[in-house]
Subunit: 131 residues, 4 copies
Amino acid sequence: MLKNNEKIYFSPNLNLRERACFETGIKLGALYHILCGIPISSDEKIITSIEKGIEAAISCQPFVKSVKIKIDKSKIVGNKSTAFDYDEITGKIIQAELVINYENIEVLAKIDWIEDMQYPLMFIEKITNIE
Amino acid sequence: MLKNNEKIYFSPNLNLRERACFETGIKLGALYHILCGIPISSDEKIITSIEKGIEAAISCQPFVKSVKIKIDKSKIVGNKSTAFDYDEITGKIIQAELVINYENIEVLAKIDWIEDMQYPLMFIEKITNIE
Amino acid sequence: MLKNNEKIYFSPNLNLRERACFETGIKLGALYHILCGIPISSDEKIITSIEKGIEAAISCQPFVKSVKIKIDKSKIVGNKSTAFDYDEITGKIIQAELVINYENIEVLAKIDWIEDMQYPLMFIEKITNIE
Amino acid sequence: MLKNNEKIYFSPNLNLRERACFETGIKLGALYHILCGIPISSDEKIITSIEKGIEAAISCQPFVKSVKIKIDKSKIVGNKSTAFDYDEITGKIIQAELVINYENIEVLAKIDWIEDMQYPLMFIEKITNIE
């Protein structure tokens, strides 16, 4: 039996690079929406645990070679000086770096808050054919 | 001032079709993770409201031409016969159809539960250059 | 067979009012974290669809008598003047009103952004014994 | 200036125990909906990272004395034998234990999948007045 014969569902006009870009987008969209709304404080240990936890989760997804999440601590409001003094993750503080490896294509993509766009941009920084 | 000059962040080696595929992936990844965990029952009105609500949300994202969500009612367990008799959205019941229009490229993509893979597959069914 | 015999799991020291308050908290916590991160624009139809969709979902949960979500339009940034000109739901714009009915107890609870706390407070405004 | 004067928003008829139960519910509702949909595999290190990450997040919330998440490994399908062979967190595999301390009240609450209810029940196991 042929398991994971997922290719039959894709357009035959889609080449390997296009497929790799599609897979990259899926992971960034997922990563972002999993992170949004998660409570956080400026405590270094809390931040690191959350980063590692969601990295571990995303690393389970297909074709993920590596994933690194960096919450921008400088923008977190809240150090638990009172019960209500903490923050929640939004696009303003999410930074991530993802490497997707689909067949012989490798894609390096990022999420970063672009100040002059006021937008958490997801973009492909590098796409290469591996020999 | 040039707003939304997002292209400068992308690799110059990325062509329009590849960018369109990336954007398509982002939206499907987002849509899927927004839906997961939402309470639902088999009541037609409840299902339709949830579908319309998340369609409206996804339609706000960049380059989305259309989006259609179809929760697979036949697989929903729970008709509120008791307080605890309802279900939650998972990949098993999510069906979606998305059209992305990036510059002159149009991408038709879907999410569907593939029984023999036991997987909620996201795939590109069609990619076309619009004249 | 006794289905939904959930009471056996609860402390016998918990009275009806306490249980009702617990159930109220569950729903507000769920509602809030389902909403966080959902894309939105200032378009009235988009806002209403999202509100109705999540209201329908929460109404499936146990003991929910009514639920009303009001996204604070005045604070939404983004009217889709460009592809990237839209917003995402955070605690700053979530307003909700929930009525829980557990046995003969009715609880009215709310979520609102409290400006001087800089916090999306969840609170019980009224708790009554129904005759 | 009085910060965190959140008590003025609550009904004066609400006693300390009721407030503590309400706060407990909020955290369980949040915890549950943050976890739902997160990718996971049966790899022990992946599971532990995700557990620790979401525990760290929930520990930031008001009145949380301790929180322990246990994903039920025995029910996870997927050990990454292929790209698509992994799972996603649902109520079926979430186990959690939370202690809330509000003023002199301590509440021990849990989430567990109750097989004969087919439901991820949230319940208060113990509520005590601390001297």
